[in-house]
Symmetry: C3
Subunit: 274 residues, 3 copies
């Protein structure tokens, strides 16, 4: 592990590359957050597209630069579209990100997440409960929130990373970006990030956008995604201390993101014991 990779400058650089590359991100995500996810991608400089018909999803995935799969409001027809899109994206060499929302207590999505997690996702983003559940441990989530702190899940994340050959981003008060050999802690952010629906889900989509421009650097992309949200959340809370206006300010902050947003608001630290 080259710790200099995990500088704030490098993370900001990967995020800002989205503006230059304008990746097209195919999102198969949940109904609650489609609008916010699309706006978060647009704010970051990416282009969103939600093509959901199973036939079209298969046709579209190779045209896009990356794919997000989020299980928040999974239904039978969406499962079909997801399988088709992943197969097409993988065949075309496009990265895909899995967001296993509420996996653990709910049977259909838990079995489905385990099935598709074998299809070589570039990254898995989840809270501690979801990562523990996906790794086979007993989570304690009830809804979309984690019942456990992210500290308790990075080891499970590394088990997953090794088993699946993927990168895992465990999000919480501290985020952990994990691959087979490294664990990086990203700190910063603001409690209001948990008071707006879809922030975590938008992170998955932003991660896909960043991965599209960083082939072979998925762990760096996970660190960059985390740094982006933590810095922008902290900056937005300064101007908007309540959740309605905070959501608006968060999109504005993503649009304006740069070193001046990130400096002093985020720390990126390799976890030595990993």
């Amino acid at each position: 592990m080259n710790s200099s990779t995990f500088s704030l400058e490098a993370a900001v650089g990967l995020v800002c590359a989205v503006r230059a590359g304008r990746p097209l991100v195919h999102c198969l995500t949940n109904h609650v957050v489609k609008n916010f996810t699309a706006n978060a991608l647009l704010a970051a400089g990416a282009a969103p597209a939600m093509v959901e018909h199973p036939e079209e999803a298969a046709q579209f995935a190779p045209m896009a630069d990356a794919l997000l799969v989020n299980l928040g409001t999974l239904e039978a027809v969406q499962m079909e579209a997801i399988r088709a899109a992943i197969a097409a994206a993988v065949a075309a060499g496009k990265p895909w990100v899995l967001d296993p929302v509420a996996v653990g207590p709910l049977a259909v999505r838990t079995a489905f997440a385990r099935e598709i997690s074998l299809l070589r996702p570039a990254m898995i983003r989840g809270n501690a409960s979801e990562i523990l559940a996906l790794a086979g441990a007993e989570g304690r989530g009830r809804g979309v929130d984690s019942g456990v702190a992210s500290e308790a899940a990075w080891e499970a994340g590394q088990v997953l990373a090794r088993r699946l050959g993927t990168v895992v981003l465990v999000t919480g008060e501290t985020d952990y970006a994990v691959d087979a050999t490294s664990v990086v802690a990203i700190r910063g952010g603001h409690e209001l990030l948990t008071r707006v629906t879809g922030v975590g889900c938008a992170m998955g989509a932003l991660a896909a956008a960043i991965c599209a421009g960083a082939p072979g650097r998925t762990l760096d992309a996970a660190v960059a995604t985390s740094a982006l949200l933590k810095a922008c959340g902290s900056a937005a809370a300064l101007v908007a201390p309540r959740p309605g206006s905070f959501a608006v300010a968060l999109l504005d902050a993503i649009d304006g993101f740069g070193m001046e947003t990130a400096a002093g608001r985020v720390t990126i630290t390799p976890v030595p014991e990993a």
Copy 2:
């Protein structure tokens, strides 16, 4: 009826109890308002979850603290999920709220609303047209708006409340909270509340959240829900006189809600003739 129950202080107390209890509200609601509903619940201190696969909806309902069923964009697969979730919620003793959006002129949802209204909802929230139609009278709604004033519907609401053993919240310029023996008028609010999509739908979800923390006090919960929206609508209109910014300010006001929001902005009056 103990009229002291219907003090503004009591209503504010029930709303603020949501922050302490952080109820998890399972929402089976329409596509237009899922994001706003989730954000309204988060602003009030509750936790939203939209689990829509029929199998998972049945599994999830007992894990949640309350269930909202809103028929705005009813489809066949959602009908299946709704039936399963209600059965599971009722079996687990969890309260559920019915929002019979546009019932009356539309055949599928009207028959479906009549069917599920027999399954012991804790509360039914609707506009005058919807309540009249559900009670079997001839409504005059065309879309999601009522063609009649709420004054014309509280008697129909009481017919429903007695027939179904439920509480009815008829919303309009004046709201009426109705059970078998009492009718309470809640006045206040602002016209901008009708210029943002999903305010009424979010009310149903907030009602479910408040019910979760007020077992046996569903009429009080209906009064509190109404007072919350009327007070916050009035407060938000002061800072944001146009609908785009009003929607944002409304969420901020829900986040900051307390006696200082409600005082002087809402009146709660038992209707003596009831």
Copy 3:
């Protein structure tokens, strides 16, 4: 062609007539933009309704004043609802607007758009790629964005207008409203209109609302729709230079739209060579 028809005053008058007429617009649109579309209609003074069950869609379309069909997240069940709603709207003499999102590269929606485009839409709104593809030319769109400028598509729009007996609104940096004999260029707007998801989709819904109050004047309605968005986009960018707050300011500007919004911000010019 009476060029005096295309004055800014006439366009503003048609938009403001929506407030007086309060048309009910039945929207069968994509999941990403349902909330924003409903709020845009409400801001303009119209009433939105999204009735999606195929049986109910057929029942509801004649009750509404206009129908919007947007193919953004087309699925099998929605195709059924769209066919039923169009048939009922046409039978009842209600105008309908087609928004052929991402038609061209995606097979299912392209065949479907060609099929329903024969059912006498009052207006078709699309970007250059979509209009070229629908006319049978080779488009270059990849996702929801056009790969070509609108200048390159107004001739294809006129081919469509003549073939289908419809009005075509080609949107881009310059918008072109086209019927069998006239082409009108509408200039103004702001780049931020492309940084918020659903602005184009909301345009389709607003076009339907304006058509409802302008029978026999569909070309004027297209010009008015374009002028509304270009003027409000330009006005909103003045107060909100980033996309999160711009989306909010855009709704506020639609709410306050009038000559003072439009004057100096939009030019409406007949294209002589047409």
